[in-house]
Symmetry: C6
Subunit: 252 residues, 6 copies
């Protein structure tokens, strides 16, 4: 059973790319990553870690992601959010930080309420300043996602986002190269998370200006406003229905 979507769009869900090694051979296996967000002081919960399934480097990746989030959005208010990141239907140990870009994008989608194209898959390691860093197994990962898409029928929108610094490592099977050349499958080399967000969401990420503001309506603007509202909720004395309005104002 293939558990991921390769079409349509969804909030808080993204296709990650993992590599499975069985004996001498290894092959790429896409996996769905999900993120949820709600007010509270639990911070960004790495479910794999909490369940003793995440190994050291994976833990480090999620912590760096947290540093990126705090630095980028939470300069004027405390990061008082509860968020959970999970590899859905993954039942073994998870290591490596090659999912950290995908995890960050899922979380940003959940925060901004902006959907992600499920026809795309993502691999890449995130730095604390949003740079996308090279990962291993890049060819297997791409070929793994390609074969699922091909089996289901290529729809012309499918493809993968990989670190720009990995582009020079590409040695792909002929059928993948052909599909890319024919415009039936896409490989995007990505240098930073904002580039990834714009491709995944078809929307401007939005650059911060000198006053510390993002352009109204941009992805980053929506994230910052949602985080500010969540920080407000933690401070409010009463949560009766009248508070509902503050939610609406953040989502326009």
């Amino acid at each position: 059973t293939i558990l991921i979507d390769t079409d349509g769009e969804a909030i808080g869900k993204i296709n990650g790319l993992t590599v499975l090694s069985i004996g001498d051979s290894s092959f790429g296996a896409p996996a769905r990553i999900s993120a949820t967000v709600y007010p509270g002081g639990r911070g960004i919960v790495d479910i794999e870690r909490e369940a003793n399934l995440g190994q050291n480097i994976h833990t480090k990746g999620v912590m760096i992601l947290t540093g990126y989030l705090g630095h980028t959005y939470a300069q004027e208010f405390p990061l008082e959010v509860s968020a959970s990141i999970a590899m859905e239907q993954s039942y073994g140990h998870v290591d490596g930080d090659s999912a950290s870009l995908a995890e960050a994008c899922a979380l940003i989608s959940a925060l901004a309420h902006v959907p992600i194209h499920q026809s795309l898959a993502v691999t890449g390691s995130l730095s604390q300043y949003g740079e996308v860093q090279a990962v291993g197994g890049i060819n297997e990962k791409i070929e793994g996602f390609f074969s699922i898409c091909k089996a289901r029928g290529l729809n012309g929108k499918q493809g993968v986002l990989i670190p720009a610094s990995n582009v020079k490592h590409l040695v792909l099977k002929r059928e993948v190269c052909d599909a890319v050349e024919a415009g039936e499958f896409h490989i995007y080399g990505i240098a930073n998370i904002d580039q990834a967000l714009e491709i995944l969401m078809d929307k401007k990420a939005g650059q911060i200006n000198k006053k510390g503001r993002f352009p109204r309506g941009s992805i980053n603007y929506k994230v910052l406003e949602r985080l500010r509202d969540i920080a407000d909720i933690g401070k409010d004395e009463d949560h009766d229905d009248s508070d509902a309005k503050s939610r609406t104002d953040a989502q326009t």
Copy 2:
């Protein structure tokens, strides 16, 4: 001694389906799951985990359930609840996430004060976005619950809720098939938790509208109102009898 009810209804209790393996053979064993809820900041306590009886995947299941709950209901106020989930009279280690749908339903029943049909049993893995995912041992689980019901006498309302993606794996004993065909036993394929709640509680789950509201009187409406009231309680300065009114208003 069979410790579960197969008739009537109850708040906060549900029949889960587990598989016991003894030597080479394995068979299905229903087990009662209970959930309780009260104000406070302890979060959703997984009693199996706290008592070092829950293994990694079970822990992951309850954490994903928490993400689902926070995301679905607690967008306008903090999730300041204390809840406990337990496998009653289970004295060994618990692993797997196939109980997470049942655990979520028990918790929602406790929150909404809406009873669950004890004539039904549930298996399925929950995603952070409420999707029901496939589980193992599906045939043994169904046959295990069927034989208890049969021993006590089928009452026509009994049956099981299983993941829709498991329906294709069904290879059941003749007597179960016959009972299903005769309408004496029911097998429901479930794609998401709202479908499960509606069958278990005979009530509309309620879809969220664009303003972030559930239909008045629906299960989800009641859960959200109860969680909001609990968040209010954590903020109130004085808990004298006059607060009791705020409870009543949430339960009408």
Copy 3:
């Protein structure tokens, strides 16, 4: 030295029933369980667990007890209590959940300031919804308490509370049966904690009505009022002598 009382009454203390195994033989050994309560946010502290003397199942039992308490009494205010439960003069590891009913009764006595008959002893496992579940070693436990009482001289009020579902397992020594028949010793089959409380305290437990109230003067009423007052104390700004009045009002 026998360390328990088999006569009189006391607040916060109860006779539990344990089984000791030495080599091939096992025999029942009563043990005093005590509970204390005071304002604060430490929750219900299981001293055996904190001292690394309580094993997994015992821990689970105390956590289920906490769920029962929160669900039953703390619906309108947070459960901001500090309570300690201990097996007095027990110096080895403690496992099993057969003491959880007794532990809950001791705690309720400490909360309600209502004394427990020390002429009685209790065994049984509590569910999150107050049901009393079967336990092991029932005959040894009863005979163990009976021989202490007999050695000290039966006073006609002595006896044991056991789970109703254990009654069918009873195969007691002749002298115990004779004493029971003669009304010199009592065996009470108990289905839920309220039945236990009424026998142990000679007072109505009190059923909750539709408005979420217990009858004034009942055991459960006193528990709820004491917990509400403790929650108030945690919120009050100043603890000078004038606060003492709020204590009095809860204890009339």
Copy 4:
């Protein structure tokens, strides 16, 4: 070097009685226990436990002591105290609960600002309700303290407090018996902590009345007033010099 005082009086310090086993022989070794108290939310810190020097039963003893303290004094306000209990100059592991009565008395002395006679030494296990329970090695402990006192010269005020239930186990050396008969050394059998406090401090412990009050000027009154003031400090907004008055009023 003998590290304890056997004369005079001091606040927050007490002579405990331990047994050292070297090879086949064991002998009693007095040890100074100290307790300090100050406002804050750290609770009662068992320094042996925090430094991984206290074993399970010792930990249990200090937790039971905490339950006693909370139950006896902190009914109208939270137990928001920071206190530290240490075995001074003890560098090995500590087990057993036979020091818990002494530890409680040192803590009460530090709270009440009432000095303890250093001519006395204490052994005994405390229950959550203040009862003093039997301990092991009673003869070695008494003889150990007696020989130090004798070496320094008996002053007529020296002696030991032991559990009343241990009196029947006494088989002491002739010279100890002679000294006791001659009124040069004292052995006090103690049933509860209030009896111990009165001998150690030459002051009424004070019984609680129906209104929950201790007699003005009694030891227990002073403890309760000091704990109430500490709870007040935790609530006050500003700690400038003007607060000093609230300390004075509790100590008259």
Copy 5:
């Protein structure tokens, strides 16, 4: 792939110098260290430690850095900051405290919003009072950074900051000595962190005066103002846009 910059400037990023040992030979390997800062109570998070990648001495180094920061800047308000320090793209264990000066400089850059010259690399151990202490492997570290710079082409601004107490240990390769003499590569002996900051940022560090003030516009002034504003944010009741002004005032 060389993952560091050896030109330009950046906020919150710095080149550290590590030593890798493979078999008998060891060589210097520069590594990028990053730091991010945002309001909240998580403190200074050492990501290596949290991910179980940092060993004891590295942990100690980051804790000493925390003491330095608290002592130097947070005397008039609580250090209520969330900060993360990471060795980017380091996937093994990290030990030693020779990165603590670099880590402190990265953090101060992130706090002050003042960029660091990426043409420089730093090694040195920080004391709680800002002194720079000697480290091991000084020659390999310098030569390691020199060869990267040389391979990319020396730009005249490149160089290393090392502890002044290490200068006497220098025994460098001829080509490094030649480059230093020719003014093409620089070696700075540093006695305290303020000297390091001034070279890394081309700006006055700023000495504290008797009133506890740093000169307006100095690095230390900016750090203190940013930390004060973050402490303010933690106290504010509402985080709406009007708070943004307080950010601006700290950055002029």
Copy 6:
């Protein structure tokens, strides 16, 4: 490289005396201990312990030091301080409590902003009530510090503070005895921490009077005022520049 100062004075730094054992021989090795202080609720952080470098007895020593500090200074307000104690440039495990007097003095210097003579070194174990207790290796420790001072040239102010109860154990090398007799090196036998503070700081420690006050300008007065101000800071709503005045008033 000798890493300590043997001349001048400094705030928050002190020379401790440790013993190193290599094979059969052991010799004294002075080590710098530093302490920093700032507002916040982290308590007194023992960096050795946090970095898993401090062993049990060292941990116990720092906890006893905390009890001393709380008891002596924090009677009227909570001990809401963040402080860090470190053995600078110590990279191995640390055990024993013979540094606890020195650690306490460094912390008090950091709190009172009063410098310590670096020409002196300190060894001794502190009790919760400020008594200085005997330690081991006293001769090696003194000789170790003497030879560093001699190598640098004796300045007539150098010397060591040792527990008074260790004076009887002194069997020092001839050259040390000669220097002491000639007034070129000093050995001070210390019974309590106040005596140590007065020698280390050339200032009155200050005895507490019946109203709980220390004499204005004494060391203990300054510590208490600084701790009170820190407790105030934790309570203040806003930390803008106007708060700076409260710092000034504590330091006059």
